[in-house]
Chain length 234, copies 2
């Protein structure tokens, strides 16, 4: 008998958007682990802070946020060793993931390291994708719509090519790539069909017209939703 690593999607930010299953496993695990910046608070932990029973061992996986160093393989190597030791000691570990663990989550890097030697179960969560659509009141896809999810760091030319002929598009992780994305959308004649939202479902959520966004202060947790026909459900 060894412990199980649970990759738990804690949802997009509103602490009430965690699932019953995620909450149960989170509260019953003797050890929790979560990504965190080099200094300061972990967002994933902050989302569930009000749910924590106290007395759990905590493993903060501290990651430098400098782009060139991301993902820092050695940091995930060490975290996997530390988590693996807990599992071998028959202690379950709840690994907290913002949104959903398998939707652009850094949990992937731990999963790749843990899954071969340990029991790993993934508890899906509400992803930023559907949370942003809900917060915007903008249906994402209906009927036979094709949905394309584009990471903003892709080159402008690639973004342009993928936007061409797409029905519904979610552009994730705009951050410091926002100016490029806004230009690509304008060039494609899609600026009027695009909606911008940041920190969806959090207290600090903001919805802005694309041209009102300050390109120098776009957070990582933001998204642009585009629907060519304007409204998915018509």
């Amino acid at each position: 008998m060894t412990g199980t690593a649970y990759g738990i999607g804690v949802g997009p930010g509103d602490p009430e958007l965690i699932t019953l299953k995620g909450l149960r496993l989170l509260q019953s695990a003797p050890v929790i682990a979560y990504p965190a910046p080099q200094t300061g608070d972990s967002l994933a932990r902050a989302i569930v802070a009000g749910h924590l029973p106290g007395g759990q061992r905590e493993i903060a996986i501290r990651m430098p946020m400098v782009a060139e160093r991301f993902p820092a393989q050695d940091i995930y190597d060490r975290a996997a060793v530390e988590i693996g030791a807990e599992l071998r000691a028959q202690r379950d570990v709840a690994i907290l993931c913002e949104g959903d663990p398998f939707f652009y989550g850094s949990f992937m890097y731990l999963f790749g390291r843990l899954a071969e030697a340990h029991k790993v179960e993934v508890v899906p969560g509400v992803s930023s994708l559907t949370a942003c659509a809900a917060a915007l009141g903008a249906p994402l896809v209906a009927r036979n719509d094709i949905l394309t999810v584009l990471p903003a760091p892709l080159p402008a030319e690639e973004l342009r090519r993928r936007l061409d002929g797409a029905d519904a598009v979610a552009i994730v992780k705009p951050g410091r790539h926002f100016a490029k994305v806004r230009q690509v959308l304008a060039d494609a004649g899609l600026a009027g069909d695009a909606r911008y939202i940041e920190r969806a479902t959090m207290d600090t959520q903001r919805i802005l017209p694309l041209d009102a966004v300050d390109e120098d202060s776009v957070p990582y947790f933001s998204m642009i939703l585009v629907h060519r026909r304007g409204e998915a459900w018509r």
Copy 2:
């Protein structure tokens, strides 16, 4: 003061995959509404049956499952009138949606009818997309992967074109289109990278190799996930 219509994503099937917020609103609404087949039980209602407090008024939106009649506009028209009457009588209505309301959900048709005249709030849920990935233990997208979601009813030629050059693909709603999709994947040399799952997170969940699937008995609630590089996280 009028009532609020809550479009609540109840998640993919496991009753424990509803969110705390969805559960709270579901239990406190005096009226619940849900899609249902012409005869028999509603899947959305079945998912939350164990959570219902009893004593709520229930509006079953019964829909013929014959493809030519779907979506039956007159049925949604009548349902919107019935729900609207409750809202005007200052009663909140919890509208249950399998998965997430805005991810290929039939809720869209009610949203289009209710949103202009009433207060409508959408509570996002765990979508089939991330639930299937979790159940398969197959990371969906990482880093700068592009995700394409393709409805299986699309013509083979369109599917073929969209698969070309895609990183990660989710083919939703295979149902009676399974044989066509399997052929398209084989032609594209992607059969080995495709994973099939039906009724993810339900007691009846099945994971099968693509060539072991009986094309005559593929349920609507099934999905094929394809990742060109085999493993998203490597």
